[in-house]
């Protein structure tokens, strides 16, 4: 029962938006370089559901990390049911999407040889995203529904090490390739299309319009090369709080940027990596971004 419950929850989450990340250390765009290991020794698998308030994105993930050296695997689903309110509050513009991911890799002690790493794991994560959005390019052409299918491959390496017996630092590094679109850079708009015009002589006259949320601007797809880094500091004296110093960047030519920030996360008592929620603050191209996440781990 204990193991089946997480699986049931994953599939019952409505419009689940799976990024395949099983970590709640997420920024406002629901990305992370950390795949967290199981917080419960007697259960080598971990499932969680994370709701990213900033991007209105659900992620549900399941990760089995080998208890000792060995192959590990996981999967996830993600979904973003709607745009609108969160975009206005958090100044984001990501479109609706749904997708899934699979993760596999090896739990090793490769990093132990250097003397200061304690435990580490290397994972490959393959993600597929499907999204659709109404795009209006200019005044001379009608709105077009554009669908997007984006594969993504990320190589993630996580390890932890002590910091002067005062804290533990959990490091994450992820890099890879993805097919992306520039919908984040477009302007969120409401597109009104006339459906019905009142007949001549009807007073008062009226016009019926159909309103849909969409985006305005020149839509493009491109190949991106995302690189994410996280350094999560878990103080020994205050384990239920963690600080995440992170970067998110794209080194591909079309959308090259680097974003840095800090996150504060609150965890369950005696379970520092069982994150209940957190807030992140970052700067992307000089623009501040606020993110809020809430997580449930099983």
């Amino acid at each position: 029962m204990r193991r089946t419950m997480p699986l049931l929850l994953i599939f019952l989450v409505p419009a689940a938006n799976v990024i395949g990340q099983t970590s709640a250390y997420q920024t406002s765009d629901s990305t992370s370089s950390i795949l967290i290991y199981n917080p419960d020794q007697n259960n080598p698998s971990t499932a969680n559901v994370v709701f990213n308030v900033a991007s209105t994105e659900f992620t549900a993930g399941y990760l089995h990390l080998a208890p000792a050296e060995g192959w590990s695997w996981g999967f996830g689903v993600f979904g973003k049911p709607s745009t609108g309110l969160s975009n206005q509050i958090f100044q984001t513009s990501a479109g609706d999407k749904i997708g899934g991911s699979i993760t596999f890799g090896y739990h090793s002690l490769a990093g132990q040889a250097n003397g200061w790493m304690v435990d580490d794991w290397l994972m490959l994560q393959l993600t597929y995203t499907h999204s659709a959005a109404e795009i209006i390019t200019d005044a001379s052409s009608p709105a077009q529904k554009r669908t997007f299918d984006g594969p993504k491959a990320l190589l993630l390496y996580n390890f932890y090490a002590p910091a002067r017996n005062a804290a533990t630092i959990l490091f994450g590094f992820a890099g890879g390739m993805a097919k992306s679109n520039n919908i984040d850079a477009l302007t969120p708009v409401t597109i009104n299309s006339p459906l019905l015009q009142s007949a001549v002589g009807v007073t008062p006259s009226f016009t019926v319009v159909k309103s849909v949320n969409g985006y305005s601007g020149l839509y493009r797809t491109y190949t991106s090369a995302p690189i994410y880094t996280d350094a999560v500091v878990i103080p020994r004296k205050l384990e239920w709080t963690t600080l995440d110093f992170f970067t998110r960047s794209d080194v591909a030519a079309f959308n090259r940027y680097i974003e840095g920030g800090i996150g504060l996360f609150i965890a369950a008592p005696n379970m520092p990596t069982k994150v209940l929620g957190g807030i992140t603050w970052s700067w992307k191209n000089g623009k501040p971004m606020l993110g809020i996440v809430a997580g449930w781990a099983f």
Binding site: P39, D40, N42, T168, P272
Partner: protein
Amino acid sequence: MPNEYDVTATLTGQAISYRKLTLNGENVDLLGAGTRLALPDTFTGKLELKSPYTRKWTLELEITTTSDPQTTVFKKTMTGTIPNNLDYRWSDQITLSSSQPPAAPVGPRMLGMTITAIQVPRPTKKTAGRKNVRGAQKPKRT
């Protein structure tokens, strides 16, 4: 000549990311599922634990003969704490004995030191008749 034994090991403790117990170089399941191993009378046991936090742990280890599961040849409960360096390793010799006393908790001070103090080597065919062997009966004077 190794004999077959059933090993039951249960490790409890929160947030332990890496846990490995080997007896005579063979991996042992730490979830209490039971592992069947061919073991000599004396062998090396190794335990390795890692956690990003200072965490307490308990290991219950019991070895029984496969022919008679009621015959316990080793039983021990160990407790300890993964220290601030986040890494705990223990390695020592284990000797099997059918006269193994019931398990008794080991205090934290003893952890990492030894679990062999309770063991008495079983007389083997080679040593049973020899003098100065612990456990062998002295011949009576006439």
